[in-house]
Amino acid sequence: MEEYKVELTVNGEKISSLAKPEESLLKFLRRNGFTEVKCGCEKGECGTCTVIINKKTVKSCIMLALQASGKEILTAKGVEKQELGRKLQESFVNTGAIQCGFCTPGIIVTAKNYLDQNPVPDREEIKKAISGNLCRCTGYKKIVDAIYDVAVENQK
């Protein structure tokens, strides 16, 4: 069984581990302790595994761990280190945008990356931006509210 070295940085922390070629980045992250990256479908159809690599959101279940070698990964825990990330967290908590919370890490990551590049969207644009992240509990209303509130704050 072939295993290869994977060295990457997650939320600023250097991780080095062996991985099989067919192991997804999702499984690699989770077994290295980053359980905030969730597994919902393993086919790229739900978004709970979303992370940021080089300012792009990626569904980690459909990327090989080996492909992430040498790269910098940001998870939901990592976005907290930046002010926009903290603002989003606070907005989600105060707006009631979190019910079961399983989709939350993936959506926070998507929202942060989106607002970084599009600081002043309208509600319809926000809905499109998070359309790759499923939520079964909230109906998306308060999630859009929470992201929109941060965007409006940004404008001031």
């Binding site: 072939e2 290869y4 067919e22 393993e42 790229g44 459909i62 090989l64 989106y114 931006a129 790759g132």
Partner: protein, 285 residues
């Protein structure tokens, strides 16, 4: 148990040599949107995963005077953001905007979508109306293949086990600048097309000088509706023509029934999609 190996060539030539050596044991990966689920489902077993995602020569969108080149590793997001594509092949831009979802668009590649060869392939449909040419290479060999000759069946293409697509090209032309893509899905994101259409059109003096019509999800592969195109050529644009063309479209498509829709519905709605795309283009003129 399944045994995989992994290599990550840094140049195109390196990749081609690996393919020549490994042949059917090699499996090319880039964005991986389809490969990993297939590995999980045991549809891909014990291969050498040849990761071409770092090969710079296969990236980029270049607009030259008479043609536009797209590297096969171009992501769908890059297509959405490309001024060149917006100007020269906006039908592709429209399709890219509706592809999967914003996250998958960051990783999925044009080449990957073509090679996956789904009957619904959202990149194949507009590239066919742009009459694209594929640059295909193997060790010591380069050839140009018309995209319309590329697909054989669902999931099947003419690409040999030692070949990769190294470029996708289409002409800078009036017809290519004037296109419309419509996708009918069961929801507004992460939707596999029930039916999709791309139409590119050139009108001269209210007559159809050139038209290309391609549909997805209504046949084993994305198809050019050549009989309908033939019917429309040189004709004057009016409502009566459109009505007749709708019938032709419905005759020409060859859909199946599956969990998303029945054959009859797909056939019916093909006519509607054609009408809408065609009217959008002709009203704009």
């Amino acid at each position: 148990m399944s045994q995989f190996k992994y290599v990550s060539p840094k140049t195109k030539d390196e990749a081609l040599e690996i393919l020549q050596e490994k042949k059917s044991n090699a499996c090319i990966i880039a964005g991986c949107s389809n490969v990993l689920p297939n590995i999980r489902d045991k549809k891909i077993v014990s291969k050498v995963l040849v990761d071409i995602s770092d090969i710079e020569e296969l990236k980029g969108i270049v607009g030259e005077k008479d043609k536009i080149y797209i590297g096969p590793l171009t992501t769908i997001t890059e297509l959405v953001n490309s001024e060149v594509i917006l100007k020269e092949g906006n039908v592709l831009h429209q399709a890219a905007e509706q592809f999967a979802d914003p996250i998958v668009r960051n990783s999925a590649t044009v080449g990957g979508n073509l090679v996956d060869a789904s009957p619904a392939a959202d990149m194949a449909v507009p590239l066919l109306t742009l009459d694209a040419i594929l640059k295909i290479e193997s060790v010591g060999q380069k050839k140009d293949v018309q995209l319309r000759d590329f697909f054989i069946g669902p999931g099947e293409t003419i690409l040999q086990e030692d070949e990769i697509i190294t470029g996708i090209e289409f002409e800078s032309s009036n017809i290519n600048k004037n296109g419309c893509f419509i996708k009918l899905g069961l929801r507004k994101a992460m939707a596999i097309a029930v039916a999709s259409i791309a139409v590119n059109l050139e009108i001269k003096e209210n007559k159809i000088a050139q038209v290309r019509i391609v549909m997805g999800s209504v046949a084993p592969t994305p198809i050019r509706l050549t009989a309908t195109e033939e019917f429309l050529k040189d004709k004057e644009v009016n409502d009566e023509l459109i009505e007749k063309a709708i019938d032709k479209v419905r005759e020409e498509v060859n859909p199946i029934s599956d969990i998303r829709a029945s054959e009859e519905y797909r056939r019916y709605v093909s006519g509607i999609l054609f009408k809408r795309a065609f009217k959008k283009l002709t009203l704009a003129n």
